[in-house]
Symmetry: C3
Subunit: 179 residues, 3 copies
C-alpha cells in the first residue's frame, strides 16, 4: 500500500512538473501569432494617438525610442511627446465641425526574432479640410520599424517614415524594403 | 515484473492526464492572438456582407445586437437585416458595369477581457459611380465596438459608427477614443 | 533505494514524453491565429514584392501557382516572375523623384481547413504620377485566394483578381463572394 502511494505521488509530481513547464512556455517565448497580434495592436494605438494628438503616443516607444520622419531623428519619449504637442491642427471654420486627418497602416510584413522584430508596412492618409468636409485621399509612404519586447510588451525602438509626396522624404532605395 | 507493469501503467496515466489537461486549456480561454484573429475575421465578414447587401450581415451581431450609425440605434438581428435590405444601390447605367462602393477597416485597436472585447478602428470608403468607373475615395470615420464571445464565437454586441463627412455624425469627443 | 530510482526514472520519462508530444503539436496543426498571422504576412510580402517590382514575388506562390488578373491565368513561378519583370513603370521626370504606385489589402476574410485556406479580401491602389507627386486614390477591387501550407509555410495556390475600374475585370457575380 505504501508503495502504491509512492507510485501515485511520483505520478502526480510528474503531471504537476509537466503542466508547470508547459504553462511557463508561452510567456518565455510567444508564438508568431502572439507577437504579431500584439504588434498590430501597438501599430493601431500609435495611429489613434497620433491623429487625436494624444501625448500618450510616447508610450508606444521605448525610453530611448527614435521617431524619424525623414528630417532628422526625434529621440526619447519626452522629445516624441513634445513633437506631438506641437503638431499643427486644421483651423476651425465657423458653422462647420472640426476638420480632421487620419493616418492608416496596411500591408504589415513582420519578422520576429525572440524579443526583437523588424516591420515594414504601408501608410496612407486622408482628411476633410474643405467646406464640404468631404473625405479626400492625400498622401502615402511606408514605415520601416525596429521593435523590442520590454517586460512582456512590444514597443517601437525606431520608426523610420518615408513619404512619397515630398522629394526629401521619398524612398530612394529602389529595391523592395521588405523581403 | 508485476511492479514494473504497475510503474509503466502509472507513468502512462500521468502522460494521458497531462495531455488531456493541456488539450482542454486552449478552448477554455483563448490567447489574445486567438481572440484578435477571430475578431479580425468577423470585422472583414461584416464589411463583405454590408457592401454586397447580404442580409447575413445580421449574423455578425448578437440576437440583441445594436448597430448605431449616428441617427439612432438599430436593435436586434431582424432590424439589422431589414436595414441592409433597404440600403440604396447606385442606379444602373446602360453600357456600363454596375457601380459599387466598398467600406474598409484599418488600425484595429482591441482590448480583450475574457468573453468581452472593446474595439476601436478606422473605416474609409471608396466607390466608382461615375462614367469612367474610376475609383474615388469618398468618406471616412471610426468604429467603437463592443464584442462578446457567444458559444465560442465572437459577435458584435454594439457597433457605434462615426462619420467625418457629416456634421451630425462626426466625432465631437475631441480626445483619443482609443487608449 | 533502487526501486525509488526506478520510480524517479519512470516519472522523468513521463515528463519527457509529454513535453515532447506537446512540443510536436503546434507544427502538426497550427491554431487559426497561427495560420491567419502567417497568411497576413504572406499577403503583405506579396504586395511589397509586386509594388517594388521584386521578382521574388514568385516565391509567394506554389510551384504550380496561378495568378489570374482577369485576362487569363499566369501559371507557375517562372511565368509569374516574367510577368513582374515586364510590369510597366512610370516614366522618369527630370527634377522630380520617381513616381510610384502601391497596392493595399484590407478586410481579409479567411477560412482555414487543415493545410488549405480560402481567402477573400479587398484591394485598393493609389499613386503619385503627377507634377506635385500628390497621392491620388485610383483603383480597387477584390481578391479570391486559394492557399496551401507546404512544408510548414503558407503559399498562394491561386489568386484571382477582380478590378472594378475595368468592365472586363469587374466582379459580376452579384452575391457576396465571402461568407
Amino acid at each position: 500500500m505504501r508503495k502504491f502511494s509512492a507510485l501515485l505521488g511520483v505520478a502526480a509530481a510528474a503531471v504537476m512538473i509537466t503542466l508547470a513547464v508547459t504553462a511557463m512556455r508561452p510567456q518565455a517565448a510567444g508564438s508568431y501569432a502572439d507577437d504579431r497580434s500584439e504588434i498590430e495592436d501597438l501599430q493601431a494605438r500609435y495611429l489613434f494617438a497620433l491623429d487625436f494628438h494624444d501625448p500618450e503616443l510616447y508610450s508606444t516607444f521605448t525610453d530611448d525610442g527614435i521617431l524619424d520622419v525623414g528630417s532628422g531623428e526625434i529621440k526619447g519619449r519626452e522629445a516624441i511627446k513634445q513633437t506631438i504637442a506641437r503638431m499643427p491642427q486644421p483651423a476651425a471654420t465657423p458653422g462647420l465641425h472640426a476638420a480632421v486627418g487620419r493616418h492608416n497602416i496596411s500591408n504589415i510584413a513582420l519578422k520576429v526574432d525572440g524579443n526583437k522584430a523588424t516591420g515594414r508596412a504601408y501608410w496612407f492618409h486622408y482628411s476633410n479640410d474643405n467646406p464640404k468636409r468631404a473625405g479626400v485621399f492625400d498622401g502615402f509612404g511606408h514605415y520601416e520599424d525596429d521593435l523590442v519586447k520590454v517586460k512582456g510588451h512590444w514597443l517601437f525602438a525606431k520608426r523610420r517614415i518615408y513619404n512619397e509626396n515630398r522629394d526629401e522624404w521619398a524612398y530612394k532605395g529602389g529595391k523592395n524594403p521588405a523581403w
